[in-house]
Symmetry: C2
Subunit: 197 residues, 2 copies
Amino acid sequence: MSAIAKRRERERAQRHQLIITAARELAEAEGWEAVTTRRLAERVEYSQPVLYSHFNGKGAILRAVAIEGFGELGARLRRARLATPEPPEALHAVCRAYLEFAAEQPALYQAMFVLPTDVKFAHAETPPPLRAAFAEFVSCFRSDNLRRELFAEVTWSALHGIAALSDSGRIPPDGQAERLDFLVTQIAGTPGGPAPL
Amino acid sequence: MSAIAKRRERERAQRHQLIITAARELAEAEGWEAVTTRRLAERVEYSQPVLYSHFNGKGAILRAVAIEGFGELGARLRRARLATPEPPEALHAVCRAYLEFAAEQPALYQAMFVLPTDVKFAHAETPPPLRAAFAEFVSCFRSDNLRRELFAEVTWSALHGIAALSDSGRIPPDGQAERLDFLVTQIAGTPGGPAPL
DNA sequence: ACATAATGTCTAGCGCTGCTAGGGTGATGT
DNA sequence: ACATCACCCTAGCAGCGCTAGACATTATGT
């Protein structure tokens, strides 16, 4: 491949990322309903068809944003877990990190977990960053806990419920800390078996 | 008011309900993205502007569907609770009824709890049916439990997380019973105080 | 009974959306 | 220098939520 072709490919990759970043910023600033192909094209200073030469459509752009988000969420959860050596507090820290992520970047969170998507969850084609993020929850529970996956799944679901209802104004933004404390306390409890953590 | 005017008002109220029902059925059959004002008008056999003489816009129709849903959900939760006299099983029954409601009528559930809305939750203007539905969760906990509202809120959030992630394909549809059992067991546990139920 | 007024509904159209066909421009390789 | 090719833009389609204005139809007053 010629140097010229290489340069073009490099520029193309940059533009690819530029589109993703622009969509994400626009969504975070004005919500996803403001992210139209026209406004996005204007923002990246190209015409609309250029978007379609990079992505199969608006849905594919949204998907790319979501996958970028999975990577960042996983990294954040991992950091929270590793910074907290004691297992009980690790679960608490990871859950808090999750809610902070959702609250700080609501549009990104929506792309990942609320808006319709064709990203496969808990499936053979699940993107590695998503698997890794889920694995952080699993790692909060003892490896001899035979139902770790179930624990992690329900924990994640409960956090998502809190994040989603809070973001859409269906529960008050105040009191997140109390909800988090209560949830973690109950999940870490031992009503029906050995200590999970 | 003349009899003629009364008849017209009656017909108008019927048409009002017809629009709500048509929107709901169309959403349940093909999803909310298929509910356009044109298709809805065609379905009720009137022109588009008629919709706008009944509702302030598409959002108001969605809101009307959601409020209808709150009433039905509340009734269902109440039935589940009253049919189960023992408190621990009452919580379980109410939670199961909630998940069944969400799974059986996913579009209605979305209108109530997922799609953007201007319905006020936990607020002075909260629609009574919504307050009543939430009160069913609160009633599952002992009246001497000073944190009943918090318990109910987190329980509801966790259920919503399970329902929403399941409906959008982000967790597998199988295993809902295990998730429900685990959640209720943990919520009903007593890690930090007196028995909540 | 007739003209007037008021009510209700429809047709047509605005500015927007996601998406795409086709042409034209400029760089590339011979 | 020329032919080729890759690239990008203009223009347009069908459908969206929503609304202005024309048109009947119905009720009212004389």
